[in-house]
């Protein structure tokens, strides 16, 4: 029962629970309807009723007479299992869900939205998938993407690896969009994959007819069947339901709170464009790994999660750096201003980090462009304090990479070398004129 306080007491005294059909009598009005759940965070003096005409209303329990008309059954959605035969001609594609729901079922009787996790659910909601591939589905997590954390990256990476080892020709990861680009970076560093690993999600929830989930999923299947053996993000390219982009997992970022085309390649071009089941490679200069028939999956999931991502701002206090050092953080990624700067009075704290062998990596809050600490005196002082330039890496990618790197070695020189070496497309040597605001 989601009611609390006064409502809860009242309902208990009337012997009424959620799903029951009731008659509500007030001084000058009566309502007949079904008692529904009440959202958390609302007051405890209103009951929510779904009237026979489908509308929900809230009714104040003050001076209310509540009469139970009919006990409700706990609504449950039971759909018969699907019998989809495996087609040997088609590729086997796995869809792993972490809680970003790519499909939903609405129970219009109660108005409840049930996320769809299983392969059957997915196929029911998107029967077109059957035409494209043999679809396997699994839900490994059920979390909101803001609750993602490094240990879940490991779990996810292992699940992806399992699917590939069991013969999957391509893996799709359904993920909430908020932290999708952290996970895509993490999987990029953890996995060396012989087949496509495609991460997708939805900016409009899948319970609405206008959801972008369907097109994103269809495009992802196309990507998962392709010969791009990379970790990629696949989402809408524009506001239209027409085509999508495949972004490198390490060079993509959520850039808009709500638009469908929120994901943008930064300091690079999208890898490919997907339209009507066809893939067109956009960045011809940049190579990509091709699908390898012989399974040579490698997984390296040693991580050191005790890393912080700190944004510099005018007036930032050195205390913030000291706090993290005191708390035993093993690495810091700074999101500096401009070319990669922090206020000068922070520098002694950074020197302390250097002395106790806590690597400090500098990125830029400009996002676009590369870090260069040689241009201004503060930058030069930072270099002298041992701060490592992340070059043109995104702050989030640098954060994930430092977590991974610290899992590989404790040697500060080696850490610096790894951080500044392009492993998975996260660093580009050249900054093209085309790379800004696309």
């Amino acid at each position: 029962m989601s009611y609390r306080g006064l409502c809860k007491e009242f309902l208990e005294s009337c012997g009424v629970s959620i799903g029951d059909t009731v008659l509500v009598k007030k001084k000058d009005i009566e309502y007949r309807g079904m008692l529904l759940n009440r959202s958390k965070g609302l007051d405890d003096i209103h009951l929510v009723l779904k009237l026979d005409n489908g509308y929900n209303i809230g009714v104040d329990i003050t001076d209310m007479q509540l009469i139970l008309l009919e006990k409700g059954e706990k609504p449950k959605i039971e759909l018969p299992p699907l019998e989809v035969e495996k087609d040997p001609e088609k590729m086997d594609i796995s869809i792993i869900s972490t809680g970003g729901t790519v499909a939903s079922i609405i129970d219009y009787k109660t108005g409840a939205v049930h996320p769809a996790f299983t392969a059957d659910d997915l196929l029911r909601a998107n029967p077109e998938l059957v035409n494209l591939a043999n679809i396997q589905g699994e839900a490994i997590l059920n979390i909101l993407s803001e609750n993602m954390k490094p240990e879940y990256w490991i779990k996810t990476a292992r699940s992806v690896a399992d699917e590939i080892n069991e013969g999957s020709d391509g893996v799709i990861l359904a993920h909430g969009t908020d932290t999708m680009h952290y996970t895509s970076a993490a999987l990029s560093f953890i996995l060396k994959t012989p087949v496509p690993v495609v991460i997708t999600g939805a900016q409009r929830s899948s319970d609405r007819p206008s959801s972008d989930a369907f097109l994103n999923l269809m495009m992802s299947v196309t990507a998962a069947k392709s010969d791009l053996a990379e970790v990629m993000v696949c989402m809408h390219a524009t506001e239209n339901d027409s085509y999508g982009f495949l972004h490198h997992g390490t060079k993509v970022r959520k850039m808009h709170t709500s638009r469908r085309d929120t994901f943008r390649s930064i300091n690079t071009q999208p890898l490919a464009r997907i339209e009507n089941g066809k893939i067109k490679i956009l960045d011809k200069n940049r190579g990509y790994n091709k699908r390898r028939e012989e399974g040579s999956l490698e997984i390296n999931d040693d991580l050191e999660p005790k890393v912080a991502l700190i944004k510099s701002f005018p007036g930032i206090s050195p205390e913030i750096i000291h706090y993290h050092l005191d708390k035993g953080y093993r690495g810091l990624v700074l999101e500096g201003t401009g070319l990669g700067h922090v206020p000068e009075d922070i520098i002694p704290a950074l020197e302390r980090a250097y002395d106790i062998k806590v690597p400090v990596v500098m990125t830029s809050q400009c996002l676009y462009g590369r870090v260069n600490m040689n241009v201004y005196s503060t930058g030069r002082k930072l270099v002298a304090s041992g701060v490592i330039s992340a070059r043109d890496m995104l702050p989030e990618t640098a954060y994930v990479k430092l977590i991974w790197t610290l899992g590989q070695t404790e040697d500060i020189k080696e850490i610096k070398r790894i951080m500044q070496t392009n492993l998975k497309g996260e660093i580009e040597e050249k900054t093209s004129q085309e790379y800004f605001l696309i």
Binding site: S39, L42, G54, Y55, D107, Y108, D207, S210, E239, D241
Partner: protein, 622 residues
């Protein structure tokens, strides 16, 4: 007709746009635009899963093919909320307030807490695939001459996008209208007389007009629900003219009665509808009918079905000037064909009686049978005939439930089947809004006057004629009138007729009446109050202001409309008396009449009649 005996029941559903500053869920303005869109956005809508139940790939593909939409959007006029790229902003409190005022004016019970719902609509008119709507109040009433009518529900909802056109498989909508606040008012289906339905619609209209609602074409939509015993519920959409309502009802009742008769007759004739659709192009190779031969030349098909026992039925009139055949044609046309041909109207259109005979023989029709023919591309023609069969089968059962479109002659035509129960679930992006007793009390103790009350009050208080009062109320000028009246000591009739007539006449002359601000009107009346200009000069002053953008005082100067000083009047009278010595000698005081006339002619309103009279009399007496 004895409506009581027929079991006539009617309900009204009225949709009215509100005239709020912003849309219901975003800060965009509530106006339509004819500008070229800055962007066109392509979207698909998919029915959500529970709508389908099981996998039906073909149906899904089909629905997908149809559900492609293009949306006209604007950089400034619309925003990301309309394009479904941003969650809705909190509900516009102004719109909620207007709907609470309306609910209170109709004696309704307001809900304690307002919940915004999503009503699934996948015809593209809402970018999200649902319309946002919420129940504000229930169970009110209005008094009519024929008794109380229950106002069942009042909902506050967002208006849909405007359908602009069709580009191949894509329907084009414009986002300007999407999100304009709308109230939906429904009566219960207990209205029993056609006159009463008009009365209820009129009264609801009056209530609406007392609050902030939009005026003009397309801002109000009135739908009528009608049924009779043995008949079926039919919804007639878009009844524009209230005075047409009784006729509309009468014609619909006639239609249902006639359809019931047709049902009985068909039963007697043992009528039957078969599935078979035949290609009869061969029979028309030599035809002289232009329509048919042109169709054949273009590679179209001539398809035909047989309706057993339907002979004579299609030609039967079911509404004044509308035959049953037209009902079948209405269904066929929804599949994109131009129309149908049937035996009851042939020979005609160049199709000869020989050809008709031939065709009847070919399909082995007996005396009571009839054929329906369509000439079009094969798929279209086939779909059209399948729809005709479907409608013909319904005729065997009586009156189908339908949504129909009101026609200007009081008839109606088929639009679509009645919608099934709405699929609704809660809009999770909008928190529930409590409507406190204090807030509601505040609204209810400041309710606006209904137009009728307002009219009576100003007639009584200011001694205005009914005509003037009606004009002020109808044109929303009562507030301005009362403001001006309270500030200037001027005859209320003068102020009222200026607002009700003069300004409108000036607009008809093509003048820029926007220049006639409240301030300009005030200055003009103050000139009257100070006796600077005569009352009769108002219209000329305002015309001059509208033409030249000057102040009323400048206008009075420029147009020579200022009243004359007493000395100037005296001088003119002296002159006049001088010129008419003969007349005065002859008639003495009796010359007053004619001289007064001449004097007023000379002054042209620039002198006060009483003063002229006094001065003239003194002069003559001397």
């Amino acid at each position: 007709m004895d409506y009581g005996k027929l079991g006539l029941k009617m309900g009204l559903e009225i949709h009215q746009q509100l005239n709020t500053e912003h849309k219901l869920f975003c800060p965009c303005e509530c106006n339509l635009t004819d500008k070229k869109p800055d962007k066109m956005i392509l979207r698909n809508l998919r029915p959500t899963q529970s709508e389908l139940g099981k996998i039906d790939r073909a149906a899904f593909e089909e629905s997908r093919r149809k559900l492609q939409f293009l949306y006209d959007s604007y950089d400034q006029h619309t925003c990301l909320v309309e394009t479904d790229e941003e969650p809705p902003h909190p509900l516009n409190p102004e719109a909620l307030e207007v709907s609470l005022i309306l609910a209170s004016l109709m004696n309704m019970k307001v809900v304690d807490e307002f919940h915004t719902m999503r009503k699934q609509v996948i015809d593209g008119s809402n970018t999200g695939g649902f319309q946002r709507t919420g129940l504000v109040a229930t169970d009110g009433f209005l008094e009519t001459a024929e008794g109380k009518v229950t106002i069942e529900n009042l909902c506050l909802e967002e208006d849909a996008a405007r359908r602009i056109g069709q580009k191949k498989n894509q329907t084009v909508f414009r986002l300007d209208r999407l999100g304009i606040p709308l109230v939906e008012i429904t009566t219960d289906p207990s209205i029993k007389h056609p006159e009463q339905v008009r009365d209820v619609a009129y009264q609801i209209g009056q209530v609406l007009r007392s609050t902030k609602v939009k005026r003009g074409l397309g801002t109000i939509r009135q739908d009528l629900n009608i049924s009779i015993k043995e008949g079926a519920r039919v919804e007639i959409k878009g009844v524009q003219d209230l005075d047409l309502m009784p006729k509309m009802v009468e014609n619909e009742v006639k239609r249902q009665i006639n359809l019931l008769k047709i049902k009985d007759d068909l039963k007697e004739k043992e009528a039957e509808v078969e599935d078979e659709i035949l290609d009869v192009g061969e029979l028309f190779k030599e035809t002289e009918s232009k329509i048919i031969s042109n169709a054949l030349k273009k590679g179209k098909k001539i398809l035909v079905i047989k309706l057993k026992g339907f002979s004579g039925i299609l030609g039967r009139e079911i509404q004044p000037g509308r035959r049953f055949g037209t009902e079948l044609a209405g269904y066929a046309k929804k599949m994109g064909v131009g129309g149908i041909f049937h035996t009851d109207e042939l020979p005609a259109y160049g199709i000869t009686s020989d050809e008709v005979e031939n065709l009847l023989n070919y399909i082995k029709a007996s005396e009571n049978d009839l054929f329906v023919l369509v000439a079009d591309e094969e798929e279209k023609a086939r779909n059209a005939l399948m729809e005709v069969e479907r409608r013909a089968r319904m005729a065997l059962r009586g009156v189908p439930e339908e949504t129909r479109k009101a026609l200007e002659d009081g008839n109606s035509e088929y639009l679509r089947p009645l919608p099934t129960a709405s699929r609704m679930y809660v809009e999770t992006d909008i928190p529930a809004i409590g409507i406190s007793a204090v807030y509601l009390n505040d609204i209810q103790s400041n309710l606006p006057e209904l137009p009728q009350e307002k009219k009576q009050r100003i007639m009584k208080k200011y001694g205005l004629s009914e005509d003037l009062a009606t004009q002020l109320v109808r044109n929303d000028k009562v507030d301005i009138f009362e403001k001006l009246k309270s500030e200037y000591k001027v005859d209320p009739t003068v102020i009222a007729s200026t607002l009700a007539y003069t300004i409108i006449e000036l607009r008809r002359e093509g003048l820029n009446i926007n220049l006639l601000s409240l301030e300009v009107l005030g200055d003009t009346f103050s000139l009257i109050e100070n006796d600077t200009i005569p009352t009769a000069a108002v219209s000329d002053i305002l015309r001059s202001v509208a033409q030249h953008g000057c102040t009323p005082r400048e206008a009075a100067e420029k147009e020579g409309l200022k009243k004359l000083k007493e000395s100037e009047i005296q001088a003119i009278i002296d002159e006049l008396v001088q010129e008419n010595q003969e007349l005065i000698k002859e008639r003495g005081r009796g010359a007053m009449g004619p001289l007064m006339g001449k004097a007023m002619g000379k002054f042209q309103g620039k002198a006060d009649g009483k003063l002229v009279n006094k001065l003239l009399r003194e002069k003559i007496d001397n």
